[in-house]
């Protein structure tokens, strides 16, 4: 039970809850802006999940300085590979958000509404 109160358990639970909330927002909202906001929430939750999977208790950041021994660094630092993945994923995330926003703006200009049910040009 003391295990469950450790940092990575709390953050993994938070990221799952954020994922569920974001997906609920994506499928229940009608406003296209709300859908984009929900997408960015899902994005953040995935980043949080990856970083908390990399965490190991009682270890420090993957930077070798006076606090971390050079010889047995593998027993002192957390996993650096998911950090590198999340680093690039955040930068791609802003690109995706910007792309969705420009698309939403174009749609708004054509249809004069933000309601996604009114966008009938892609329906068949």
């Amino acid at each position: 039970m003391t295990n469950l109160f450790s940092i990575e358990y709390i953050t993994i639970f938070t990221s799952f809850a954020l994922l569920v909330l974001g997906l609920w927002g994506i499928i229940s909202q009608k406003n296209i802006f709300k859908i984009i906001i929900s997408f960015s929430i899902v994005n953040t939750s995935i980043h949080l999940l990856l970083v908390s999977l990399a965490y190991i208790r009682n270890r420090t950041a993957p930077i070798i300085d006076s606090a971390v021994d050079r010889v047995n660094a593998a027993e002192k630092v957390v996993d650096p590979v998911p950090h590198a993945l999340v680093l690039t994923a955040i930068v791609i995330g802003i690109g995706i958000t910007a792309l969705m926003l420009s698309y939403a703006f174009t749609m708004y200009k054509q249809h004069k509404t933000l309601d996604i049910n009114q966008y009938k040009s892609l329906k068949w």
């Binding site: 709390i10 809850a17 954020l18 609920w24 802006f33 709300k34 980043h47 958000t97 703006f105």
Partner: protein
């Protein structure tokens, strides 16, 4: 132990902000709430021993994304006011 309590409080605020972002009527408040989620996530990354990710999330997720949202929202509000 004290770290766990801080992370727990931050997580609760993040979840409440996610609910606000999804269900609030005003788009401005929803955008700001999603920015707050990113900001608090970047504080949590510091506790998870990931300072690189924390810097990136704080500068990109909570600043640049919100700015881009507000540019588009401002334009839409302007054209609404004209009609």
């Amino acid at each position: 132990m004290i770290y766990s309590i801080i992370v727990l409080i931050l997580s609760l605020i993040m979840l409440v902000m996610a609910l606000v972002a999804i269900h609030h009527k005003s788009l401005q408040i929803a955008v700001i709430a999603s920015g707050i989620i990113s900001l608090f996530a970047s504080v949590v990354y510091i506790f998870l021993a990931a300072p690189d990710v924390a810097i990136t999330e704080a500068s990109i997720g909570s600043a640049l994304t919100v700015i881009i949202f507000f540019y588009v929202l401002n334009k839409i509000r302007h054209s609404d006011a004209k009609e």
